[in-house]
Each structure stands twice: as C-alpha cells, then as structure tokens.
Subunit: 232 residues, 2 copies
C-alpha cells in the first residue's frame, strides 16, 4: 500500500500514461535518452562488471533487456502492473510487479551487485525509504547507481526541494495528466546518498552531444566494509 | 618554483592585483561573498569543531582572522608575498608565504584537523598536486573543505574542463590583467576528490538570498581509516 498522497499521485498518473510511454520509449522518441542518457546508464552499470543487477522502476524494460543481452542477470521491478506486462511481453529479462514501498531483500529472496534507478526516483517518502533499504539489498562492494535530471543545469524554477509537475512538453505523442515528481537539489541528493552509509565514489554528467550541456547526473555509491576501530 | 606556465600566469596576475583585491575584500564590495559565501565557509569549517586549521590561499587573511577569533588555531598560507604582507599587517592570525607547489607537512612541521580552500584552487597541475598531498596534511578524521564557483549554475560557456579568464566584470574598482583560472566540471571535482582516498561526505550550495540561485559549491571530504580486509 502506498500511504503518502503525493507518492500515490505519481503512481496514478503513470498508470494512465503507460501506452504513450511505451510507444515513446520503444519508438526512440525521447531525444535526450537516445543521444545521451541511455548509453550513459548502460556504460555506468557495466563498468562495475556486476553479475546480478536490480533495475528499480524498470518501466517497459529496455534497460533490463540491454543488460541481460550483455550477459548480466537482471531483475526489473516496477509498481505499475501494465508496465511490467508490457516488459514481459517483450521478454528478454526477469520482471516483477513491486513498488519501492513493498521492496526488501526478503520480498525478493536475493541480493545484488548493482541497484540501478534510471530516472525512476520520483517520489519523496518512497525515495527516502529506498535509500535506507539499499545497503541490505547489496552485496559487499556492490554499487547503487542513480540517474536523475540534472538538478542545476538550467531551469528558472526556484532552487529548492519541492514537488513539481512533469508537463510532458516536448513529447511527440499525447500524455494524460501532468505527472508529479519530487525535485531535490544536488545538495539534497548528496546528503541522502551520504545518509545511507554507502560511499559516493563518482558523479557523471552525461552531455547533450550537440549543445554540450549536461542533461542528467549519475551518482555511483558503493557498499564498503566498516573500518575497524584500532583502539579496541 | 612554479613550473607550469598557466599556473604561473595566475600568480603573475594576482601579484598585480593585490591592492584593488585587498580593498574590495575589506570594503565588503563583493556582494556574493558578503551575502552568501563568506558566512557559508565559516559555518562549514566551524561545524567540524576543528582545533587546527590550514587556510590554503588565504589572501589578505579575512578567514584566518575570523576563525582565530572563534578560538581556532589557524595558519594561512598564500603564494603572493604582498597578500601575506597585508594579512600580517592586519594581524589576528598566523601567516606564511608558501605556494601549493612548495607545500608539504614537512615544510610546515604540523598537520591539521581541517584544510580549507576558499575560492583559492584556481590552477590545474597545482590543484591536482594539492589533492594528492592533502591526506598527509590531515589528522585522522580531519576534513578537507573546498569552496568554488558553482560549476553548473548558469553561464553560457561550454561545459568542459578548460582555462578561463576572470574578467573582473562586476567589481567596483579597477583590476589589471584578466586573471586565468582552470574551470572544472562538477564531475571532475568529484573525481578529483575521490582520487585522494578521502571520503566525500557533503556538498553544499550556498544560495544568493534574493534570487535563491546557488552561487557556489562547498565540498567536504574526510580522512577515514582504511577498512580491514577480513579475508587476511
């Protein structure tokens, strides 16, 4: 059950937008994804040479399929049943309907070398919850990789953590309902990542190949051993 | 001796600009500093409750004086003799002429709880060198704190690591010679910080109090114990 009302609105909105979304992704209609952010996230995940990956918010499944084709055992989860249905129809990976709220290593019965969240961390409480949970889903030395819209690259909106609405402007086909998402500043993302106990090791900024401007940001954090207290 | 020609140009330019710079700082003429970045860096340093601080590129000494007044033993170093002379004239702290190129714990005979670099990391090779050196200057659990112009908050220049020129536009009084400085992307700053072995724990974005836009970025990294390999 999703308890927070704005996190619930995200799910409601996406449930109404499954069909145009699947078409937009599979038709390669989202320029920034095709030109920059898709190859960037694939490279980032594969750079760690993981054996087992969890794609959190996998949508219609493109990334799961691509990683599986590269030989990585990949499970994709998403809260939207119709998206998982479309993913399973296309095949090429393992898929499961599961929301972040219901996620745990117990619910899945497995842990992973890499957790990847590709533009899927849209909520507020659910994202806070996921970050607390993440270390328990990871093997030692494993990575959590998050790609999100670049917090500071352009835009006139006030620079503070707040709910925003995705207007779907710039998409070719029609979407219903503005989809809410929770904007976080760069400072807030780093604080959240630090709070997990994971170690932030890199931050990449995929650029638009024509403008050279950053379109997204990719954080990589790793699960490291706790240092031993030498005074014990 | 400074070997790299562009890092040398930075020093040459600053040597010519000591007088207007000292007047601008002490006359509280630099709006972003007065309104945002000065209080931000003081707060960030004091938050760690350090006993001994090294201000790298301390200029005319304002930050050393402010920290010393708060009870922190602070040493300020700068490559420009005329700036150190003006700092010593104003007093209120310990000062020494020393460039990053000549810096080492051996050269100073002491180590520190905190290294602070307030808009002072302008060069290329010198900065790379400082980051390699930093852990040897820090006590266990110590912090390296760097404030720099926000890499991605506005600006039309191409988003890539490259030499730029400080035009001094917006300053009330006259400066000579454009001062070169080496711009790094956010990605490059984080990679550099990671390469030191220090752990990046927070990233702050001081905002202009009227526009709400970020004016600078402050990185804090700490020196932590190495984890023990449990398989040994």
């Amino acid at each position: 059950m999703v308890s927070n009302s704005s996190d619930q609105k995200i799910i409601d909105s996406w449930e109404k937008n499954v069909d145009p979304w699947v078409l937009a992704v599979r038709g390669r209609e989202i320029q920034s994804r095709v030109l920059a952010t898709n190859p960037a996230i694939v490279d980032e995940v594969l750079a760690g040479e993981p054996k087992a990956v969890l794609d959190i918010g996998c949508g219609e499944g493109w990334l799961v399929r691509e990683l599986a084709a590269a030989g990585v055992d990949t499970l994709g989860i998403d809260a939207i049943p119709a998206l998982i249905a479309s993913a399973e129809k296309a095949g090429g990976g393992r898929f499961k309907v599961l929301s972040i709220e219901d996620l745990s290593s117990h619910a899945l019965g497995e842990t992973f070398d890499t957790l990847v969240c590709n533009f899927s961390l849209l909520g507020k409480e659910s994202v806070d919850q996921l970050f607390q949970l993440a270390p328990s889903l990871l093997n030692e030395g494993g990575s959590m990789i998050v790609q999100t819209v670049h917090p500071t690259a352009g835009g006139d909106e006030r620079y503070e953590d707040a709910w925003r609405e995705e207007s779907w402007a710039g998409f070719i086909r029609e979407f219903n309902n503005p989809a809410p998402w929770y904007f976080r500043t760069l400072e807030s993302w780093v604080a959240l990542l630090s709070s997990t106990g994971l170690k932030l090791v890199s931050l990449r900024e995929p650029r638009h190949p024509e403008t050279g401007r950053p379109v997204s940001i990719i954080f990589r954090s790793i699960k490291v051993s706790e240092p031993v207290d030498t005074h014990r």
